[in-house]
Symmetry: C2
């Protein structure tokens, strides 16, 4: 893996079924965790419908802005699978039936079953590399800085494993979590804000959750220097304990 | 509720914690279901970090394009809560401490505990209506076509219930699902594409899932005319049965 200061990425989820609520997306959280672990900063996510113009606009906005764009969904054999076509249009590249993709499909499909619809899954923008997966055999592809993956989570995950070793990565973000327990955010917000201002190289967030009629708050310190993250998390922990004792 | 032909919406999820993978978003799917049920078409979702410029850009892109923009996250008392400020900047409106919001906060917080950080939760863009919630008392707000809600799911849900009766809605999209069982997408894609072409007013999608080493496919027919949706779903069901028998 290449090491760079900061490598950024976006995800584009393509699919009417996510927007209608029919399917609950499981890919965003998975890819977010995965990229964080390998040292790529996920900066933006978009979800758009199976509408070619909308996909083209989102692809062009995101690929220009971030080092990588990962897309999920819309690469199957049915009429609503328009991702390959949209990526071709976004990049100004022709879509062609790729003999390598046909060969992969034939590992799973009998030659007499390779109908026109299934051949659609081998239509790939010219110049793209294929992204194989052992599960369905129908490939995703990688062109420029755009990595096109399936929407079905197990298949998407296999594709991500396939491309990960070849991605440029930066220093990993390390995170430490400090529990503030039932101490309200409003009780520590001012002091925490001062810690955040004094450590602009760190990302410090306060995350409330609400269970059984009560808030439970956690503070997360993130940064690329594990020592610094540890020191600041320890200082916040001491701060939170002090404030909690004062209230007790 | 007002009835219009089609009412559209977008969601903007604001939060570093979603992009780092630390928190798995539960709001997108919930809001998607909710809007579908009341007759609003969710057309786009974006997730951005707690970075003011990024929020401003996304708010302005989405509020111009859709009838409503719902945001979640970033309205608490801590330094990383920058949503109100960003919305004010996006709309060119000043942020002021709202006495109605202060009154709501005082229903839960003792006057002596209303420190500067907590007062931040009462800083609302001028001219906005408040969106109350019974759980935390800290309000969201509604300005122009932008509805700003909390990120904590239970609180966001209470806020959505609060605004829903006042939203303009269109004819509800009705959906019927046809199970294709283990019949592969490639076996019905061509015929389904013909049905889709013949019914451009309907949205017809094919959704594979992968369990126990096998694909399980479902076809969803969506539209505003329940009779038409029912008829086309029945036709697709007959088509799928015929193709499955031919293979048996």
């Amino acid at each position: 893996m290449t090491q760079a200061a900061s490598v950024t990425a976006a995800i584009l989820v393509i699919g009417d079924e996510i927007l209608s609520g029919r399917t609950k997306d499981k890919n965003i959280g998975y890819i977010a965790d995965y990229l964080t672990k390998i040292g790529i900063d996920l900066r933006e996510v978009r979800v758009v419908a199976d509408v070619k113009a909308d996909i083209v606009a989102a692809v062009n906005a995101l690929r220009a802005r971030y080092n990588y764009l990962f897309t999920t969904g819309g690469i199957g054999p049915t009429h609503d699978d328009v991702t390959a076509e949209a990526i071709g249009a976004a990049l100004g590249v022709e879509i062609v039936e790729d003999p390598r993709a046909i060969a992969l499909l034939l590992e799973r499909i009998k030659p007499e079953d390779l109908n026109e619809a299934r051949r659609r899954m081998a239509r790939i923008p010219q110049g793209a590399e294929l992204v194989e997966n052992k599960i369905s055999k129908a490939p995703g592809f990688w062109i420029g800085n755009v990595i096109v993956m399936a929407g079905v989570p197990t298949i998407m995950q296999a594709m991500l494993d396939e491309v990960a070793p070849r991605l440029a990565t930066g220093a990993r973000m390390v995170a430490e979590t400090v529990s503030a327990g039932g101490l309200p955010e409003g009780a520590y917000a001012a002091a925490l804000g001062e810690v955040a201002s004094a450590n602009p190289e760190l990302s410090i967030g306060s995350y409330p959750s609400f269970r059984d009629g009560r808030f439970h708050n956690e503070i997360v310190v993130r940064g690329r220097d594990p020592m610094r993250v540890g020191d600041v998390a320890a200082a916040i922990n001491a701060l939170v304990s002090r404030l909690a004792q004062r209230r007790a």
